[in-house]
Amino acid sequence: MIQSVNPEPGAVALYEQKNKELAEKVEKDIQSFDAIYDVAVIKGKEETLVAYKVKHLKRFGMKKIEKDINKLLEDHYPNEDFVVSSDYKIFIETIELLERMKDPSFSEKKAEQQLQRVISLKKEMT
């Protein structure tokens, strides 16, 4: 929880090489925030899932950080659809999905399904 994930989680796109570059760029952008120490990005068919961890003593300003991130992403990539979350559960699910996607036998369709599941988790309120 306190350590960053080792090796670095990185960014992965489900489709095309062009998207991978975008995902990596998004990751760099988020990493430039002072209060954030771990970022994982997955670019799906439509949405891009961005999960991050906030440094413990900066967690008081979590709402502001989320707002800043949303604004930055909106400004830099106006045509993309982002799902941003600082939730720990979303982060571990994202990491798990990233790990599984390294396996070539894990089909893109399944990955997309899994991604949608994580996004639906994020949207759950109660």
């Binding site: 929880m1 939730d87 559960k89 571990i92 759950e124 309120m125």
Partner: protein, 157 residues
């Protein structure tokens, strides 16, 4: 304290004697015990939260509800077995302020009135202590929700 002047000399003498022999409450020690007992209970709660996050489909947002339910259930069991009484004796407010104190007060009242029968005894007296928690909790939540609704309508939030 306003009545002090009306005391007879004998009563004043007795008060002095009493003050000399009265055992002082170890306030600071009690505070320290309450602090770390309460902290320990919260650490257990945090562990349960992470348990739900890791092994079930709960997020940080949604893991709160099952955590509270589990903590209350555990403290109810401990009260029934008579363990929580000792924790309460030792930890004081540290064991009463977290939700575990709520479970304790419910079951303690239920056990106490068991001899009066199930309906009028247990049923009627179960929330004798915990009732005020529910009443004022719901009422406070209502007020806060009202204020938030008004603020949202006015566009402050």
């Amino acid at each position: 304290m306003g009545k002090k002047k009306n005391l007879t000399p004998v009563q004043q003498q007795y008060q002095q004697l009493e003050q000399k022999h009265e055992i002082k409450r170890p306030v600071w020690k009690n505070c320290l015990n309450a602090f770390w007992v309460g902290g320990l209970i919260c650490a257990v709660g945090q562990a349960i939260t992470y348990f739900y996050i890791y092994f079930f489909d709960f997020t940080e947002q949604t893991a709160g509800n099952p955590t509270v339910a589990t903590m209350i259930f555990i403290s109810m069991l401990l009260t029934g077995f008579g363990v929580y009484d000792h924790i309460g004796q030792f930890g004081g407010a540290g064991s009463a302020v977290p939700v575990t104190g709520f479970g304790n007060s419910v079951i303690a009242a239920a056990i106490e009135h068991r001899t009066e029968g199930f309906v009028l005894g247990v049923g009627g007296n179960m929330f004798k202590l915990a009732g005020s928690v529910i009443l004022f909790g719901v009422f406070a939540a209502f007020i806060v929700a009202l204020i938030k609704t008004l603020w949202t309508m006015m566009g402050v939030l």
